[in-house]
């Protein structure tokens, strides 16, 4: 057990150091922060304008219900962040195994007294940590604005909402990890991951055109459906379990695949 932990820490530390040593990741972070910031300002102003219009209607005696502005902003913004992450996450996961295969370091890992599961879990934890660091400044400016509201908005709701985003990211990164293990080309890994998660994302749209059991299955598997219901504040265990299942599935497939590489002639 202690050995497994030591293995995990070794891989986790190496991965984190790797993220900070790669210039591409700084570019990814910069783009993500820029886009997230722009969308926040747009959304913030749009919601404000809407609310002002509704207030006017209220004053005109049309009786519109009062709006919880911070909650509306947060919910819509988490939707935007989730969508933005679809483009960022494949770029974060593409290198995880493809690069190890390409530069031959997988052979080092495979001939070291360390299990493939620990390598995989360590890598996943590393990339997830990097993604969480991406979210920290975003949460900071959200708190700065949303907590100013009257009556006060709870910081815990912000934290919870981003918890859903992290769950979504864990599921996507885990699947991306698997795709990355199946190829030596990082570009192929990124494109493949993007295609897969886009498919899982729009599964709901497919479900809408179907009926009966297939529709229910597709709706249940859809990333968007589960993510939306989580950020709308209806925290249900089925949604959480679905994301965790995707995560575990990705890790499992990766371990099987990487162990299977030993049988290949290269």
């Amino acid at each position: 057990m202690r050995l497994l932990w030591a293995n995990f820490v070794a891989i986790y530390r190496k991965e984190l150091q790797g993220y900070f040593a790669t210039s591409l990741n700084y570019i990814i972070a910069a783009v993500y922060w820029f886009m997230a910031g722009v969308f926040y300002i747009i959304l913030f102003n749009a919601v404000q304008a809407n609310v002002a219009a509704q207030d006017l209607q209220g004053q005109a005696g049309l009786g519109a219900p009062p709006v919880d502005v911070p909650a509306v902003i947060l919910e819509n913004y988490l939707g935007v962040l989730g969508f933005l992450s679809l483009f960022i996450l494949p770029l974060l996961s593409m290198n995880l195994f493809a690069q190890e295969r390409q530069q031959g370091t997988l052979e080092l890992l495979a001939t070291s007294p360390i299990t493939t599961t620990m390598v995989t879990v360590g890598k996943l934890a590393g990339v997830l940590t990097f993604f969480i660091t991406l979210l920290v400044p975003v949460m900071f400016y959200e708190s700065l604005t949303l907590l100013q509201s009257e009556p006060p908005f709870s910081f815990w709701l912000i934290l919870l909402g981003h918890g859903a985003l992290v769950l979504l990211a864990a599921a996507i990164l885990s699947l991306g990890l698997f795709i990355s293990a199946t190829t030596e080309s990082t570009l192929l890994a990124a494109v493949g991951t993007f295609a897969l998660i886009l498919l899982l994302w729009i599964l709901q749209a497919v479900a809408d055109r179907l009926s009966g059991v297939p529709a229910a299955i597709f709706r249940h598997l859809s990333l968007l459906q589960n993510y939306t219901s989580l950020i709308q504040g209806s925290v249900s265990t089925t949604n959480i379990i679905l994301f965790l299942s995707y995560g575990i599935l990705g890790v499992f497939l990766t371990v099987q695949w990487v162990d299977g590489l030993r049988f290949q002639r290269s």
């Binding site: 997988l106 052979e107 890992l109 001939t111």
Partner: protein
């Protein structure tokens, strides 16, 4: 003459506990192709074993099976008594492995990389700085320890590759083509480094370069198309050749008298002459390893020729290697094997 296929089995029939590495009937199939076919050999503790064969003979596949990276199709390999398949983790703790391409993280510094390798090889956090320093010093990387691996020259990268194979002080070191792509000076440095590691470590060195083996190894396994064609010490291998000795003489003058005298000479396999005007290159081949140098010079003087240069050329490892590996297909191999079995 003892031949490889027979020898290790007789050595194994006793206690195999004395061997650091034992390989029995090791076979690897890829679909219908046999990459490695019924390999048998063993390595003593502290020995450097050369694993010699032409490209594509199955060297890398064998190295990968020994390290537990690839499972064998049949047969067993044991490192320090642990089976590579059943006790894979125990084996991996006891080997250092340099694959054909050094497994380096380009964005890490030399020191950071070696720290990482030490940590996944199970070196305790307290021992790591000492072990890393040792490996860095041993491989002559002291001045480069803070450099990014990406910025190192090929020779230094190869050294980092060797450093990662020894950083956890494993009893067994497996090196796959460690000098490929290096310049002559770097090759000598790497060879000296490998030699200096013997004794404390058991080393298997795979290569297709002959001088490498004769300069660094105690014993050689020669493989061809996945099969062992010989296992022996280098001296024994040299004795195994057909024992011919060649003399090359550079002469000028009239050759007729010398040729007449050589025709009378006993026990010669042949005389060849290449002439360029008045200058001649005469090659005399003897049947045994009889030393006919003094007689030859006497003949040359008697014939009134001027002698500029005289070389004695004995069988080299190259000759033995070519003799063992040039047969075109396995059918010929079998003929060769049965012939040699009859010989011995």
């Amino acid at each position: 003459m003892t031949y490889g296929i027979i020898e290790p089995i007789s050595r194994l029939s006793g206690q195999n506990n004395n061997f650091m590495i034992t390989v029995e009937h090791l076979t690897k199939r890829y679909g219908s192709t046999l990459a490695v076919n019924d390999l048998n050999f063993s390595v003593d503790a502290g020995e450097i074993l050369g694993f010699l064969g032409p490209n594509g003979a199955g060297k890398t596949t064998t190295m990968r099976m020994l390290t537990g990276y690839m499972p064998p199709s049949e047969g067993t390999a044991k490192i320090a008594g642990f089976d590579v398949l059943e006790d894979s983790l125990a084996v991996r703790q006891r080997i250092g492995y340099l694959p054909e391409t050094p497994p380096l993280y380009r964005e890490m510094t030399v020191q950071g990389y070696l720290h990482f390798v030490a940590s996944i090889k199970g070196v305790s956090a307290g021992d790591r700085p000492r072990r890393v320093d040792w490996a860095i010093e041993r491989c002559g990387l002291t001045e480069r320890r803070h450099q990014l691996i990406r910025k190192l020259s090929k020779g230094f990268r190869q050294r980092v590759g060797i450093a990662q194979a020894i950083v956890h002080d494993p009893p067994v070191i497996i090196l796959d083509e460690p000098t490929v792509g290096l310049d002559p000076k770097q090759i000598i440095e790497v060879r000296n480094l490998i030699k200096s590691l013997a004794g404390d470590h058991t080393i298997i060195l795979s290569t297709h370069i002959l001088p490498e083996v004769s300069m660094t190894c105690n014993r050689v396994v020669i493989i061809q198309k996945g099969r062992v064609v010989a296992t022996d010490t280098i001296d024994q291998l040299l004795n195994r050749s057909d024992n011919r000795t060649q003399y090359e003489l550079k002469l000028s003058g009239n050759l007729q008298a010398l040729q007449a005298a050589l025709a009378q000479f006993p026990d010669l396999a042949g005389v060849q002459t290449q002439s360029d005007g008045d200058n001649h290159l005469v090659t005399v081949t003897t049947n045994g390893d009889t030393d006919i140098g003094p007689e030859l010079t006497a003949l040359v003087v008697q014939a009134g020729l001027r002698l500029y240069e005289m070389n004695r050329r004995r069988a080299t490892l190259e000759d033995v290697f070519l003799q063992l590996t040039t047969s075109e297909d396995t059918a010929e191999d079998e003929v060769f094997a049965s012939e040699t079995a009859a010989d011995s």
